[in-house]
Symmetry: D2
Subunit: 309 residues, 4 copies
């Protein structure tokens, strides 16, 4: 399998399970990764923004990765290595690759503004981690404040042969996706994988627009897997029917800041996590918000029995 062809299907974004005392809940972590594998995930991403990576000690991070590698039995694992300094990014990237990661993911720091600044940053990052380490561009302006035009993404991809994938989570992002795919069809942009994210809010149409799959963290990754499968099989209505049934909950989970609490709460209700705790400082759902999520689950269960908890 080529380095690029690996990135297709569904790669869930893994949250990091904690015990209520703030220690890592390793049993839940093992259960979560095993579950990802069983439902047919094609890989996973660990230590991203939603994995509470900045709250982890280096040894904890490495252990999370190792358990994911083991449980997912060789499927590709993407590891977030964004860091304010290139020394830390390099260490994280080298250690991750040694521990079995398939590639590393890099988001631009929020200070970047001009096209040239962004392109230069990725050149420096690649020099820091080494050109032998496959990397993923994370394009997520809602979080980073950095806006990358399609042309900037093209320059990064063409300048750096070790770029294997774009994690596309700009919003709005459908036309951007079409532009990049058109350039690839015309041959002006070399092949890379494009998986989409931003909570999956537009996965239904992103598949039509040519995405290779989904790299996001909704609490029912089975839905993402089914939608991607339906879409690839040409079952457009089936993909939309399932997606639409989940959209009220998915939209609720896609809220910045609160989303992780929703995700962990649902995963706990599903019996996959023992606790919905976040390591401090972390958010928690109000009683009202939990009741709203419960209500959404009840409504969803009318269509998708996997939500009947």
């Amino acid at each position: 399998m080529s380095e690029i062809a690996k990135y297709t299907g569904v790669f869930p974004i893994a949250p990091t399970p904690f015990n209520p005392d703030g220690s890592i809940d390793w049993a839940s972590a093992d259960r979560l990764f095993a579950y990802y594998n069983e439902i047919g995930s094609d890989g996973a991403t660990v230590l991203g923004i939603m994995g509470e990576a900045p709250k982890l000690e280096p040894a904890e991070s490495l252990e999370i990765l190792k358990r994911a590698v083991k449980a997912l039995k060789g499927k590709p694992i993407i590891v977030g290595v964004s860091a304010p300094g290139f020394a830390a990014m390099r260490s994280l990237a080298r250690e991750a690759m040694e521990a079995g990661a398939a590639s590393v993911m890099i988001a631009p720091p929020s200070t970047l503004r001009t096209d040239d600044q962004i392109v230069t940053y990725y050149a420096q990052a690649v020099e820091a981690i080494g050109t032998d380490v496959p990397f993923v561009i994370q394009d997520y302006p809602l979080i980073t404040s950095v806006v990358m035009s399609p042309g900037v993404i093209k320059r990064i991809v063409m300048d750096n042969p070790s770029c294997v994938m774009l994690k596309a989570e700009d919003w709005p992002g459908l036309e951007k996706l079409s532009t990049l795919r058109k350039w690839q069809a015309e041959g002006s942009l070399r092949p890379i994988a494009i998986m989409t994210a931003n909570g999956g809010l537009f996965l239904d149409f992103e598949m039509d627009r040519g995405a290779d799959g989904s790299n996001t963290g909704y609490a029912f990754p089975e839905m993402l897997i089914d939608v991607v499968r339906f879409a690839k099989a040409g079952n457009r209505d089936g993909a939309h029917d399932l997606f639409d049934a989940h959209l009220p909950l998915l939209r609720y989970e896609q809220q910045l800041g609160i989303g992780l609490a929703v995700r962990k709460y649902v995963l706990k209700r599903r019996g996959i996590l023992a606790s919905d705790a976040q390591r401090k400082p972390g958010g928690a759902l109000s009683a009202l918000a939990k009741a709203e999520v419960d209500y959404l689950l009840t409504r969803l269960a009318r269509t998708d029995r996997r939500a009947a908890l």
Copy 2:
């Protein structure tokens, strides 16, 4: 009716109809306002961000307002008067009130950062427009970059008796809404109306959280009206059922920047606008995007016949 009690139900945000040559399509404007009135809107907002107000000549703006006042037969009209300078804001506000507006809406300029800066800005704005002009706070960080904590909103409301309403479109915003309503219940925040917006993405739960209604611009305001009516009548499931049927399209229309093109395209397909043109510089939907909207309309029509075009 008290100044505050006016702001309840649904106040659509009116787009400004243009002919393909960029001139205002007055016939469509009249049709649009008459339509708002007929379906049971409780008021309307004109000259907001989605009304392409910055592209209008002063005389055009005033004429739009006058036609809205006439067609909506005395229902309250909110007029956007955000401007970089207080001279322009004052002129707009005074002219709007003379032309029959019920109140004016003010968004904070993007340069504001600290709590005190925001509070001071509103004090200065009120001094500029006059304390006799009722005003609406627009809280829309996705557009303005200005983040107002609940405490800042409280200070603005308590400092300025002419504040009649909060247009709540922070995202996430449910807990903020609950906090403000709790303060009002406790008596530490005086009564003002709170209508929600941000494309209506959370209207289903906002009604549960105590919103007075919806002040946004979805292309099927009938849905907003029904959802608000169901919610106020205690028909929670009915409200969610209808809302969920519209959510795939509503989510598509809520995209920043593209949303207005979607809205105008649907209003044109519905026969309310003669053209979906925007005055330059404006966006347009790609053929692919139009086909996606058509597909969403077809799917929606299975549940809501008003979408069968």
Copy 3:
């Protein structure tokens, strides 16, 4: 004289004089413009950020411009027309040109991020004002938050033949200035004038780097005129000696937000303005700050007698 050759020497940025009651002090305005002319200014800029333009009524703005045109006896006047909407920008620009302005100045709105967004904005602005109106690019990231790389400036200049000048006030900005001049020397960037600003904080070296002059608003424009004259005559040490003597005060005046109050206070002490009032909302110097400025003036007067007040 070619359209571009006009922009050389010193163009003071004019503050707008107010009476303590907030009305415009026309006598001071006439005195100020006459004074600019007498000391040998080569032109002037009115209605810029430091001219409190957003607080002026349209009729006031036009009258300011007309008086500047008259007092400066045909020397070129640049008029700030930055506005949130192209309708207002167009009106301002057309009226300004009819009233005798030489060109209009446009700063990018703070929402722009990518290179393409900035280039597109200027294309739209030029379409709005008309290709027959000479315009000045204002590059002032400290105020606008928009960062323009040299390549973006080049694209704007090459795409729009009506661009006559860059007002260069990026910080740091010396290397940017050198890059643009190098491109002009090589022929890849067509000739335009480059005048520098940002309070004059680097005027000493900007002249060495190839600036055509100064377009800023220090309270002693005579100093700017002398420094530019010395620099053009090859008297480098003389330019630096005079500049350095003024630097402590100039640095004090270059503070964002407070700078205008300092400038007006000094101009009042010099007898040019009758009052240092700003129209509301405006800043005022504390007693301590005034004493600091007085102290700086006393110290400056030891070297430059024009500061002996």
Copy 4:
């Protein structure tokens, strides 16, 4: 000596010396710290923004600190521990204190907006590092984009007894400094030290406004020491005379991004650093910029013989 009384006088911000190959130049580091001690520095700050801390390996960071502690013979050392995650911040802070640091310095992350968000962040940071670790607030909006009103600083200081100092580098900042000192005089703000920075651009007046000293990194810390000494001795004119002589160079060094290259270049010319190299990715001065610095040094040497190199 109380924890707070330590922070007075001049604490240079130490750059990290590198060899041209990117390795740390330990001999230069030792020479630099010894030099700080000899000229009468009262302490120092290491591993700040200007110390290229994000490019250092953890072991390197610790070694830098240890050498500073040793060379400065027990004078207080402040260590920058700003980090995107509290795990890393905690590790750095605990290790720094064990290695002999006097306190740690924390800047707010650029995502913070509201007053409450900033106050909460510091509460969380203090919980992470431990309430036994003295800390310094870094208020530097030009770099962090976070604007702290005086009231926010007050809340942080009053909420967290382990806060010992404010590093004040807001710009403009004189009135803010006066407000904080007034509150301390009135008793509504408990005593903490306030040292100023932002390249020293306003040190002359900051001492008059009540600063305890300077905590910045100009290439002639002797000047800072003399100015602070003169000011404390009531020799106001002497302080300004010396400051003004250095201001042209100091202003040149205060440029964001380029400043560190200027500082290292001058320290190399002074024989304190063997090389002006920065670890990659780092900036370098153009030949023209070096010539400009040389020219400024020559001019300065006419007044201050320490600049005769």
